[in-house]
């Protein structure tokens, strides 16, 4: 019966009700938990479009759209005739959204009648006011029922409308959203260029886009997306297909453009934006290192922060006059040599015991090492050498002769980080294609086969640890010079996990992916202690990191910008299935041909036997 229902176009009211009800309740539950975690009220402070739409409302409104879309997605099976999506799906989305809005209204009733503030800290009158649009219970309930249903419908409609409309809407919505998120960066940049009038037109005084600018920019983006349709993809494809000298030339131009942008842009940016960029750079450096260990060699190192700490502490001890035990007050550049040595040795020391372990044991043991190193730096035992919980203060900046790089001048820190990042990117890029890099990938894909192919897996893994450790220690050194002091609390396990999220969300084993990951996550949401562009997220970024990690693992384990080889590995089943289906097709086409070859081959075998 079910099969018949799959094939035939069903009438719009003959829904699969348990399915609809389940998704409706999921929608409601997500909305309620969002409210009780306190996100809407807290994010309400950030305006997106003047006072008409705040980030808080945006987050709540997104839920029914997303769930409406998911609940009306049609499972597309290969080789099965699919029905066209239409009214049926719209009704699904509508009902799902309606149920979600209903659950939210129930929450409002509960908020009005009971006080559960004691365990639930966000059970507050502010939440009630937020939900009712400050217009009383009846209005709020009616409004949420309507908006829920409409948004669910909108989510489902994304499946139904032609792809041009879907694409354009997506571009307009995301474009406006990013424009609003980047408010601080854009206004800072335009001030640097002396274009304050642009900022004044674009953004309202209290933050957020103005209504006119929203409409105008929305139209512009919409038009642009219509014009560029298919061209961007064609251009990237052309670039990909280029060969030899032509490709080299194109790459060169691209490289020069990026380099000039990186060098010139910070000059026009203010202090806060440069600070942000410097933070992104520090984490990018870490992520590039972890990308080698996790992405290329497939060793899940959860104690990666240990190398970061070693880099930071070595720099601090060697350069600071306040180092409690041994203070040679070396120059940063000289200290860097020792930092590399110390980090390499730590990499060997941590790597050697764990190298033979199963992948998951390796993860937990490295996590243990990460904690051990932090606890040792914090303990009274090593306190006389590393300052214990007080840390080491008064670390001088980097004296370059013509300028000094230090935390009070974030632009200089950014340039310093840029140099290290360039080195790291170049090394990882060259290593990827080298003998060692291929050995890493072989170990990642199948250790036993790699070993049988003559790869010294022990050495390859140790090298991954050492290279990763050195890159992380650079980052630690820059952090020490930037902040000017170093404390054990900067090296919590949290840091390791955030870098892991950056690498995974960006795309394991892919440098471009890591770049995108660190800009999007660290730049927008912020690092463990450093705020990002959306400072309002401070309390929720870890929650979002957790959700992102789970979501990426479930839906897109290869990351936003996948490396081709890695995604082939992860989707091997699907590739095999595709190959099998295609093979079937080929077989039926060439049936006669195969018979002939079969007879030939048996004949050959027979001949050989004689």
């Amino acid at each position: 019966m079910n099969e018949r229902a799959m094939d035939l176009p069903r009438s719009a009211v003959d829904q699969n009700w348990p399915h609809v009800l389940r998704w409706g309740l999921v929608c409601g539950l997500v909305l309620v938990s969002l409210c009780l975690v306190g996100m809407p009220v807290e994010l309400d402070k950030r305006a997106i479009i003047e006072r008409h739409l705040s980030l808080g409302y945006l987050f709540v409104l997104l839920v029914p759209i997303a769930i409406g879309w998911v609940s009306s997605t049609l499972l597309v099976l290969e080789g099965v005739e699919n029905r066209r999506q239409g009214l049926y799906d719209l009704v699904t989305g509508l009902v799902v959204g309606l149920i979600g809005g209903g659950v939210l209204s129930l929450l409002m009733v509960a908020l009005d009648n009971w006080n559960l503030r004691d365990p639930l800290v966000n059970w507050s009158p502010q939440l009630f006011r937020f939900l009712t649009y400050e217009n009383g219970m009846g209005f709020g309930a009616a409004a949420w029922l309507c908006t829920g249903a409409l948004l669910g419908l909108a989510g489902a409609a994304l499946h139904v409308v032609p792809s041009v409309v879907r694409r354009t809407t997506a571009f307009v919505v995301f474009g406006l959203f990013f424009l609003s998120v980047l408010e601080a960066a854009i206004s800072d940049l335009s001030e640097g260029f002396g274009l304050e009038s642009l900022t004044d037109w674009l953004y309202a005084k209290k933050g957020g886009l103005t209504v006119t600018s929203t409409i105008v920019v929305g139209l512009v983006i919409g038009a642009a997306s219509m014009v560029t349709r298919g061209r961007v993809k064609a251009a990237t494809n052309r670039y990909r297909d280029m060969e030899g000298a032509e490709r080299q030339k194109a790459s060169m131009i691209l490289f020069v453009v990026v380099a000039v942008l990186c060098i010139v842009l910070p000059m026009f940016l203010g202090k806060i934006m440069n600070e942000l960029l410097a933070n992104v750079g520090i984490f990018l450096l870490l992520a590039l290192g972890l990308n080698i260990v996790v992405g290329l060699a497939g060793l899940l190192d959860l104690g990666y922060v240990a190398f970061f700490a070693v880099g930071g502490y070595t720099t601090a001890v060697l350069t600071s006059p306040n180092s409690p035990w041994f203070a040679p007050e070396l120059h940063f550049g000289v200290a860097l040599v020792f930092v590399v040595i110390a980090a390499g040795l730590t990499g060997l020391l941590i790597g050697a015991p764990v190298i033979r372990m199963r992948g998951d044991y390796l993860a937990i043991v490295t996590l243990g090492f990460g904690e051990i190193i932090r606890l040792l730096f914090m303990s009274d035992w090593l306190g006389p050498y590393f300052g214990g919980a007080q840390g080491i203060t008064n670390i001088p900046g980097v004296d370059l002769g013509f300028a000094t790089v230090k935390g009070t001048d974030p632009r200089s820190v950014f340039y310093l980080v840029l140099v290290f990042c360039a080195i790291a990117i170049y090394t990882s890029w060259r290593l990827q294609a080298s003998r060692l890099g291929r050995a890493w990938m072989a170990v990642r894909e199948d250790e036993q086969v790699a070993e049988a192919m003559g790869i010294n897996t022990v050495n390859a893994k140790l090298m991954a640890f050492v290279v990763g450790a050195v890159l992380a220690s650079f980052s630690g050194a820059v952090l020490a010079a930037k902040v000017g002091s170093i404390f054990p609390t900067s090296f919590m396990i949290l840091v390791s996990i955030i870098i892991l999220v950056v690498v995974i969300v960006g795309g394991m084993g892919n440098i471009a992916g890591v770049l995108v990951g660190s800009f999007v996550l660290i730049g927008v949401l912020g690092g463990p202690k450093q705020p990002g562009l959306l400072q309002e997220f401070q309390n929720y970024k870890l929650l979002i990191y957790g959700i992102l990690l789970v979501f990426m693992m479930l839906k897109r384990p290869e990351g936003l910008v996948p490396s081709a080889r890695r995604s082939r590995e992860l989707h091997q089943d699907e590739f095999l299935q595709d190959a099998w289906l295609q093979g079937d097709k080929l077989e039926s086409e060439e049936e006669e041909g195969t018979v002939v070859t079969a007879t030939v081959s048996t004949g050959e075998v027979g001949g050989a036997e004689e």
Binding site: S33, L36, V37, G38, M39, D118, P119, L120, V121, N122, G298, L300, L302, A352, P353, M357, R358, G359, D360, Y361, A363, I364, V365, L367, G368, F369, E371, I372, L375, L376, M378, S379, D380, W381, G383, G454, N456, V458, N459, L462, I493, I497, L500, V501, I504, N539, Y540, L542, L543, Y545, G546, I547, L548, L549, V550, M553, L554, P557, L570, D573
Partner: protein, 376 residues
């Protein structure tokens, strides 16, 4: 000829790592032995030069102090054991480390806090403590089980056949999510359990061991839950199904066992044990935050490895050994070696135990029980 030289070269390099590992092993054992010897000598004759060698003002331990350390190690270890059961069972069945299991434990402790606070507010806590205790344990079991089952359904089931590290990374994400979700719901403040009634928490003397009533309660509850778990796993049909699935999923399915349901049951039972552990934690340390689950979780995993993963008796024994090592080793091994502030290194000791076990006997003290595919 050329292949020959290649293999010998590779073998030599392998040997370098092995030599280094042997060196680490010998070094760690030597440290432990020296520390122990110094400690024992100190106990026999406090003024001998060997005892004073590293730590001139060591005083050693009196018998009562030693017994106190042992008891605190035992009660804490039994909690680790209860959590370790969940790690061990899930690893046995699905072959991955459920990193978020510590968070299940934290949910149990949190539930217990909310319920016990309400009970205290209406006076029931003092009047009828045993009933309250049973109720909060029941509630903690309920919520922990729910959390564990939900995470299996949402996050782990779709990943059943993916490469081994993927579910582990997912579970890290789940752990992060639960921590911060609880933080959002209940706020960052540390929550403190109400005091136990005086008649229960007072000091008692059993077989010359001075033991606080709270610790005794912890030991009793842990023992009872262990017996219940043993009965479920070894004597009921569900338990038999769980063992069969752990042995070989496909053949279990062929024998008519509902594998999905059995996996859910495994998560549920593990979650229930973690819930009980959470309540005991709350009663003993009396303070709970959203981060409570992290360290005990990692240590409980250590306990599961120490006892041999997949081995339930081993998990409990591993928990108790880890708890005892953590409480005794700083005083007995590190103090005589002249390390100051040893109590700060408690956690470092626990992680060192993990490294030691994996260096010397990766299959754990009591042998691991895993299916052939998970052992790879």
């Amino acid at each position: 000829m050329s292949t020959h030289s290649l293999t010998t070269k590779s073998a030599r390099r392998l040997a370098a790592v092995d030599r280094f590992l042997t060196f680490i092993r010998v070094f760690l054992v030597a440290l432990i032995v020296i520390g122990l010897l110094a400690f024992i000598w100190q106990q026999i004759d406090a003024d001998n030069p060997f005892a004073r060698w590293r730590n001139p003002d060591a005083r050693g331990l009196t018998g009562d102090q030693f017994k106190g350390l042992l008891i605190s190690g035992l009660s804490q270890g039994s909690m680790y054991g209860l959590i370790a059961l969940g790690y061990s069972m899930v690893y046995g069945v699905l072959g991955f480390i459920n990193f978020a299991h510590g968070e299940v434990f934290m949910v149990g402790a949190m539930t217990g806090f909310i319920a016990s606070e309400k009970f205290q507010a209406n006076g029931m806590w003092e009047q009828n403590f045993i009933l309250c205790l049973l109720l909060i344990i029941l509630m903690a079991i309920l919520f922990s089980t729910f959390t564990a089952v939900l995470m299996e359904r949402v996050a782990y089931r779709p990943l059943r056949n993916s490469p081994r590290l993927i579910p582990l990374i997912t579970s890290i994400g789940v752990s992060f999510f639960i921590q911060n979700f609880v933080l959002g719901l209940f706020g960052p403040a540390s929550k403190s359990y109400p005091r136990l009634p005086e008649w229960l928490s007072k000091q008692r003397s059993i077989l010359t061991f001075e033991i606080a009533g709270t610790r005794l309660l912890v030991l009793v509850v842990a023992a009872v839950s262990m017996v219940v778990l043993w009965y479920v796993v070894e004597r009921t049909k569900t338990g038999k199904a769980m063992r069969a699935v752990a042995e070989d999923k496909e053949i279990a399915a062929l024998m008519g066992i509902d594998v999905n349901r059995t996996i859910v049951t495994t998560f549920a039972v593990g979650g229930a044990m973690a819930g009980v552990g959470g309540i005991l934690w709350g009663l003993m340390f009396r303070s709970v935050t959203h981060m409570t689950g992290f360290l005990p979780g990692v240590k409980a995993f250590t306990a599961a490895v120490v006892g041999g993963i997949g081995n339930l008796g081993g998990a409990m024994a591993g928990g108790i050994s880890l708890g005892s090592a953590e409480s005794i080793a700083p005083m007995v091994i590190l103090e005589p070696l002249g390390v100051p502030g040893v109590s700060q290194l408690k956690d470092a000791v626990a992680f060192t135990v993990l490294v030691l076990v994996l260096l010397f006997k990766p299959s754990g003290l009591f042998g691991e029980r895993l299916s052939a595919e998970d052992r790879a």
